[in-house]
C-alpha cells in the first residue's frame, strides 16, 4: 500500500465551492487518473452489454452512474467513515469489443491487472453481468480462486443461451469451470422470480454455492446476513458483486432483466452495512441500463448510492488494515 505521506491523495471536488452539477462527469467527482501511485480505490467503467439476454443499454451504465454519483458526499454516517479518505480516482473505461464477449472478458482481466498489481481496489461500473467473468479472472490471477458475495435476482449459473457460452446468465458457471471462482466460499443472495425448470432451483447449490433466496433473505436480520456471509467466505480473498436487478423494478427499472417483488434499497443498505469489516478485494455494480431508466434517473441514483456503501465497506476495511499493518489480504495472502 502506498505511503500516504508521499503519494497524492485523490478527493472529489469540494461541493461547497463548485456545485455538484459542474464539471466533467467522473465518478463521484474524483479525478480522472490513469496512475496507481497513491490510489486506494479506482472506479472503473466497463461499458459492455453484448451479454444481455433481454434489454440492452447497459453500455451506457458507466456514464449514468458517473452522472448520478456527483450527488455523493464523503461522510457515511452509519459506518462513520469518510469514504474518500482511501484516495479514490476514476480510472476511465476499460477497452471492450462490442459484439464479442469472449474478447471483452479477456480485455477486462487484462485491464484490471495493473490496478490489482498495485494494490488498488477496483469498483467496476457495468455493463452487463457477463463482465464478472473478467473481473474474477483478474482477481484469481493474483492468488488463485476467489470467493464471491453476490446480490442478484438471478443465479447467473446457466450453461449457455442459444448456443453461446458467454452471456449475462452464465458468468458464474464459466468462472467455476475456469477455476477462478470458489463456489464453496461464495454466497448468492436475493434470487427470485420464475425459473425455466424445477432443476434451476437446485443448480447453483449443486455447484457448491450458498444460496439465499429473496424471501429467505428478507427473513434474516442484517446481522444474521453478515454472519452468514462471514461464515461462508471465511478469511479468504472475496469479491462483492451487486446486480441492480436484486432491487424491485420500482427502484431500479433501468435494467436488463427486471423481476418484480424485489428488495428495497433501504433493505440492501442495511444488509451491506452488516458486512462492514470484511476486506473485499473488489466490487462491482452492474446491469444499469439507462435507456429504460426514469426521467429522474432512479436506477442510476440507486446504483451510485450502493456504490457509496461499497466505498464505505472498502474504507472501513482499509482503516482496519492500516491499524493492523501485518495483514494485507491480496498483497501478502
Amino acid at each position: 500500500m502506498p505511503k500516504a505521506s508521499l503519494a497524492p491523495r485523490y478527493q472529489p471536488v469540494d461541493a461547497l465551492n463548485a456545485p455538484r452539477y459542474t464539471g466533467v462527469r467522473t465518478f463521484a467527482r474524483c479525478p480522472a487518473v490513469r496512475a496507481t501511485e497513491g490510489v486506494g480505490l479506482a472506479a472503473v467503467g466497463v461499458p459492455f452489454d453484448t451479454g444481455t439476454s433481454y434489454r440492452a443499454g447497459a453500455r451506457f451504465g458507466p456514464e449514468a452512474i458517473r452522472s448520478a454519483s456527483t450527488l455523493l458526499r464523503p461522510w457515511h454516517p452509519q459506518l462513520e467513515v469518510d469514504v474518500f479518505a482511501q484516495s479514490v480516482v476514476d480510472w476511465g473505461d476499460l477497452a471492450i469489443v462490442p459484439g464479442n464477449a469472449r474478447r471483452t472478458v479477456a480485455q477486462i482481466a487484462e485491464g484490471l491487472a495493473p490496478l490489482l498489481d498495485a494494490g488498488v481496489t477496483p469498483l467496476v461500473m457495468g455493463g452487463d453481468h457477463s463482465i464478472l467473468l473478467g473481473e474474477l479472472r483478474a482477481h484469481a490471477a493474483v492468488d488463485g480462486p476467489v470467493g464471491l458475495v453476490l446480490l442478484d435476482a438471478h443465479a447467473d449459473t446457466w450453461d449457455h443461451y442459444y448456443g453461446e457460452q458467454l452471456f449475462h446468465g452464465t458468468p458464474l458457471r464459466r468462472a467455476v469451470e475456469e477455476g477462478v471462482l470458489d463456489p464453496t466460499r461464495s454466497v448468492i443472495a436475493g434470487l427470485r422470480g420464475p425459473l425455466y425448470d424445477a432443476a434451476d432451483v437446485d443448480a447453483p447449490r449443486e455447484m457448491g454455492f450458498t444460496v439465499v433466496e429473496g424471501d429467505a433473505l428478507l427473513a434474516l436480520a442484517p446481522q444474521q446476513f453478515g454472519d452468514l456471509v462471514q461464515n461462508v467466505i471465511r478469511d479468504g480473498r472475496t469479491m462483492f458483486s451487486f446486480d441492480v436487478d436484486v432491487l424491485d423494478p420500482a427502484f431500479a427499472p433501468g435494467t436488463g432483466t427486471p423481476e418484480i417483488g424485489g428488495l428495497t434499497p433501504h433493505a440492501v443498505q442495511r444488509y451491506l452495512r452488516a458486512l462492514a469489516g470484511i476486506d473485499f478485494i473488489g466490487f462491482d455494480v452492474v446491469e444499469v441500463s439507462p435507456p429504460y431508466d426514469t426521467p429522474g434517473q432512479t436506477t442510476a441514483l440507486v446504483a451510485a448510492g450502493i456504490a457509496h456503501e461499497l466505498l464505505a465497506l472498502s474504507a472501513v476495511a482499509r482503516g482496519q488494515r492500516s491499524s493492523q499493518p501485518t495483514r494485507s489480504a491480496h498483497a501478502n495472502p
Copy 2:
C-alpha cells in the same frame, strides 16, 4: 377436461433457443389459438377503457401485458408448479365497442362463453374495471351467481357517474343488481385513499361484501388472508380480479386512478400464494394504462408478474383436480 394424450398441449416458445424478445407478442409467448381443444387456460385481451373516470389508456393494456409477459418463465419456485403445464394459449382480444360500455359488456359475456363451455379458464387482460361485469355475467351464465376475490384500491360499488351507470367504479353494484355476483361470498381487499363521503366506507359492507381495508390487510399474515378468503368463498364457484391500483403508484404508475400508500408487489405475491389450492373459475388483471407507465414499463411488468402468480394458482388447482377426478368445479358443480 380434455384428454392430454390426444389433445395438443400449448406451451411457450423455448427461450433457450429463441431469445425472449423475439416473435410476435402473444401472452407469455404461448401460441395464438382460437380453439379450445386441449386448452387449459386462455389469456384473453379486453382492450376497453371507455369506463375510466380519470386517466384513459387501458385500451393498450393487453398489448403492454403481452409485451412484458415475454419475460415469464415456466417454473414457479414457491408453489413448485410449471404454470404452463395446464396448456396455455393466447386467445387474442374480445370484440369491444369503444365509447359504448353497455354493448361492450355484453360482448365480453358473449366472447367468454365458448371458453367457459369448453372448461377453459380465462385470464382476462384489461382494460378498465368496467369489463368485470361482462366477466361475471359469463361466469354466472354457467351455473348462477359467483363469488369474487378482488384486490383493489377502490370498492367499485358506486351507483353511477355523471348519470352513466356503466363505469369502472360501478361494476360490482351492477353485478349484484343483476344477480351474477354473490357479495356474501366475495372479498374486497386493499381499499385505501380518500372517499367522497363517510357513507362510502360502509356501502360495500352493507351490500354484503367482506371488506378488508389496506391497513387491515397489511396487518394480516398471508396465511390469515388465505383463511379469511377461504371462509368467505367457501366451496362455491369464485372468480379472482386484480386491479393494479391496489399497488402503490411507485410500482404501478400506469393506471387510471392511482392512490398513494398502496401495497408492494412482494406483499401481493405472498397474499396470492396463500390462496394456493383454491380453484378459481377465472381471473383478470385490469387497469394497466401504458401511456402513463415508466420508460421501463414498470406497470406492465408487475401486471405480467401477477398474471404469473394467477397462472400458478390455476396450475395448482388443476393439478389437484386431475388427482381428484370426481370434482370439476365449473363443469359439474
Copy 3:
C-alpha cells in the same frame, strides 16, 4: 374565525357531476379566491427554485400539485373527517422574483401576512425549501418564534453554499439566526444519506433541534412519533413542513436532491395520522420538481396525497377548536 352561517363556505366542484379531469386546475378543484372571508385554509403556490443546489424545476411544483390534487376526495376514512369542511380555497401563487432568493423570501412573508391576519391556515405548495424562511417569518410576525415539525432527508441547517446564504440547504439556520424559529420546539425527522463531514451529524442538534434520523424514525411506531413530536412542540405555535425527498426516489423521483433509501408514502401517512389533534399554524409541501417526475406524475401524486393528510390534520384541529371555543392558537395566543 368566521361565522359559517354568514360567510361563504368553499368546497371542491362535485366530482360526481363533473369528472375530476375537467376545469381549470386549482388545488383540489377548490375555488380560486383571493379573499379571506369564510376561508379556513388556503392553498398557496410559491413557484420558486432559485435555491436549489442540484436539480431545478420546482418552480413548476405548484402547477403539478394542483394537477394531481384533482384526484383528492373529501372524506379521510382513517381520521374520519371531511377535509374540505373547513372551507378551502386556492389563493393562487405568491409574487416571487426568479434569480433572487432574498427578495423572494421577503415577498413570501409579505404575501402570507393577510392570510394569517385573517386566521386562515396556509398550505404552501413549493417551490424549493428556501421558501420556508419566508413562511417562518410570516408566522413569527404574528406572535414570535414558532416551532417546526419537518420531514426531510436533509437538515437544511447549512450556513452557505458557494458564498450564498439563501439556498434550500440553509433556511433553518437563517430562521434561527433571525429569531423566527425556535429550534428547541422543533423536530427534524427522516434524515439520511451521505454527509459532507462527521460534524454535519451533530450540527442541527447543537443548534437545539430534536433530530430523528431515518433509521431511528422507522424504529418508532406511529404513536411513538406522535408522542415525541407533542413532547417537543408542547403547546406553542408550530408549523409543519414536508420535503418530498424524505420519501424514497421510487415514490418521489421528481425532486431536487434525491437520496436513496427513503420512506414509503404509507409509512409517512401513518406517522402523519399520529399527529392528529395538533393544531398546526401552517403547512407546506416542497421540492416537487415536475421535469424529473415520471410520465405518471408519481411525485405530484404523492405530494397531493400528503397535502390531503395535512388538510385532514387541519380539519381535525379546527373541529376541536370549534368545540373548544376558548382556544384559538393564532388568533388569541
Copy 4:
C-alpha cells in the same frame, strides 16, 4: 357587441411583473370568468375523448393547452395586432359525460349558446374531434347552417365505426345530415395518409366539400390558399377548426391518430396568416393528447401557438368590425 367604455376588458397577467410560470393555469393567463359582459373571445375547454378511435388522452388536452399557453405574449408581429385587445377570458370547461358522445355533443351545443348569444367568439380547446358536431350545432342555432374551414389529416366524414355513429371520424357527416354544416361553403385541407378504400378519396367531395389534399396544399402559396378559402366560404358565417394531426408527428406527437408526412407549424402559420380579414364565428384546436406528448410538451406548445394565430385572426376581424360598424356577421347576418 359590448361597449368597451363601460365593460371590463380582460387581459393576461403582466408577465414582466409575474413570471409566466406563476399562477393558476388559465388560457394565456387570462382571467377565469363565467360572464359575457365585456368579453370578446372566450377560451373554452371540452375535455372529452370518448370519440377517439386509436389513442385516447385528449381529455387532458385543455389542461395541456392552458399550461403551454402561459408562454403566449400579446403582440402578433406579422398581423400587427394585440391579440388580447379584444378582451379574452378563460370560460373553463363545458360539462361533458365521459363514455357518452351523444349526451356530450348536446351539452357542448348547450354550453356554447350563452357565449354566442352574447356575441362572444368561442375558441374551443379539445378534446377529440367528435366535439365539433356540438360546436356546429351551437353556431347553426344562431342563424342556420354554417361554413367550415378545417385543417386536418383526416376528412372526418365517415359514417360510423363499429356500429357507433358519433366518433372523431364522423362529425362532418353527422353535421351535414343534421343540416348544421353547409359543405358547399366548407374547405377541408391537409388530408393525407393511407385510406380504407379508393372511395374514401372522393367521399368528402361527393358530399360537397372542397378538399385540398396535403400535397396540393403544399403546392399553394399562402395567398393562394387564402383566396381559395375566401372563394368557398364567400361572405357567410364560417367556423375554423384545427386538428393538430394535420401537423407531422415530429411536431405534434401527442395526438390520437398520427399520420406521417404532415405539415410543419411554420407552414401552417403562413397559411393561417393568409386568412387575416375573414371574420370567423368560432374556432377550435383539437386532438391534443398529453400522455403521448414529449417531455417538453411539443404538442401542447404548438397547439397554444396555433391558438395564438387564431386569436390574431379574431382580433384582426374585430378590429375591422369596429371600424365598419354596419356589419356584424353573427349578430345581424
Copy 5:
C-alpha cells in the same frame, strides 16, 4: 405466383369492425402465418442489435414497428393501389443469436430462403443494419449478385470496428467482398454528417456505388431521383433498404446512430413514390431503436409509414407483373 382463385388471400383485420388497437400485434394486423401458399409479401422480423456501434435497442424494433403498423390502412391514394391486395402475412421473427453477428447473418440468409423460393417478397423489419448482409446473401442465392437502393445517413461501407468485421457499418463492404451485392447497380442516397476521414467521402464511390449525398438528394426532384435509380439498377434484380437514420432525429429519434440535418418523412415519401414501377425483390426498414423513441413512438410510426410506401411499391410492381404474365423477375430470371 400463386393462383388467387385457389390460394388463400391474406388481409388485415377489418378496422371498421375491430378497432385498430385490438388484437395480437402482427404487422399491419395481417395474419401470422408460416406458410407461403397464396402469400405475396411477408413481413419478417429480425430482432438483432449486436451490430450497433453506439445505441443498442433495435432488437425491439420489430415489436415497435408491428405496434405502430396497426394504424396502416389499405389504400395508397397517391399510387392508387390497395397495398394488401398482394396478400400479406406476418412471418414472425427469424432465428437470431444475440451476441453473434456471424451466426445471425447466416441464420437470416437461411431463414429467408423458403420465402424467396416460393416467390414471396420479404419486407424485413430490423434490427440493426448488419442484418442486410444476410438479406443480400439470401437474394443472391436465388440468382447471383443483386443491386441495392439504400436510403441511409451512412454508407455502411466500413471495413471493421474494433477488429470486428460484422457491424452495422460494414455490411455493404462484406456483401461486395462476398459477391452477393453488385455495387455498380446500387445507389446509396442521403449520406450526411461528419466522417472519420476525407477518404470516407470517396470510399463507397471507389467501391463502385452510385452515391447521392443528402444535399445533392434534396436538390433532386422526385422524378429525377426515380430516373437516377432506374438508370443505375437497370433491369436487374434489386433490393431496397431503408435506414431510419436517413431521417432527421426529430422524426426518427429512436435509432442507433442519429445524425442531425436529415430528411423529412414527407420528402422520403415523395422520393419513394417516384420509384413506382420498379419491381424490387425485397425490402427492409432497419435501425428502429424503441428505448430511444418518444412517448408517442414517433420513430416506429414513421418506420411503419415507410413500410406502407414499400408495400405500395411491391403492390404496384405485382400489379404490373400480373398484367405482363411473361415476366417474373425472381422466379424466371
Copy 6:
C-alpha cells in the same frame, strides 16, 4: 499561436479502437486539459440557469452536450476540414454561483481570460443566455467592444424582468450599455414568436443591431446570409452565439423558452457553412435544457452537431490564418 511542432496537439480518442460510448464524457472525446499550450480551441462549460425566465434545467446543458458530442467525427465533408486539426480540448466548467447572475457573469469573464490571453478560441457550452454577457466582457477585455452574430428566436434586448437586470432576456442590452458589444457590427437572426408589445419589434434595431426576422432569414439563400453578415461585421473582432431555441421545438424541445415555427437544423447548417472564412473570436451554444429533452436527446444531439459546424468554422479560419501569417484577428487587430 503555438508552434505545432513543439506543442502537444489534442485530438479525440480514436473511435475505431474504442467505441464512442466509452470513456469519461468530455467534449467530443477530446482530452480534459486545463492548459493552453498547444491548444487551438477549448470547449468550456458554463452550467448556469438562474437567468431563465420560464423553464430551468440548462445547468445540465454542458453535461448533455458533452454526452451527445461523443458521436462527432473529425471530418466535415462540406467544408472539407478536420475540425480537430486545430487541437481541441475540454477545459471543464467555469466556476459559477447558482442563484447569483451578477457574480456568475463576472466569473465567466474572469474564467475565459486565460484562454483568450493564450490565443485559444473558446466554444462555450451553456447554460442560459445570460452567460453571454460574461463572454462578451471577456472578449472586449482583449481589445475593445466586439461584434456579434446571433441566431436566436428572441432578441434578448430586454431591459429587465421583475426588477432584475440580469436575465437571459437582457444580456445584449447590458452588453451594449457596458460598451463590450458593438451593435452596429452585430446581426441578430431568426427572431420569431409573439412579443409583449409592438415596440419590441423595433427595439433591437433602434439599439443599432441588424435584425433578420425568421421569415426574412428563410427568404435568404445561404450565400446571401453570408454576405449580409460579412457586410455588418466587416473585419472587426466578432463572436458567434447560437441559442438552440432558434430551432423549431420539434428539433430542440429541451430549451427554456421554446417558440413554434422555428428553423430546421439543416437550414441552420447551410447558413453556418456560408460563414466559412470568417474568423470568429469565440462561440457559444446555449439554452440546452436536458430535463425537457426527448428520451433520444434530440436537443443535445443538435447542439453537439451545431458545435461541430462551429468547430469547422474555426478550423477553416485557422487554416486561413496559418497560410496568411500576416493576419491574426484577435492577436494583432
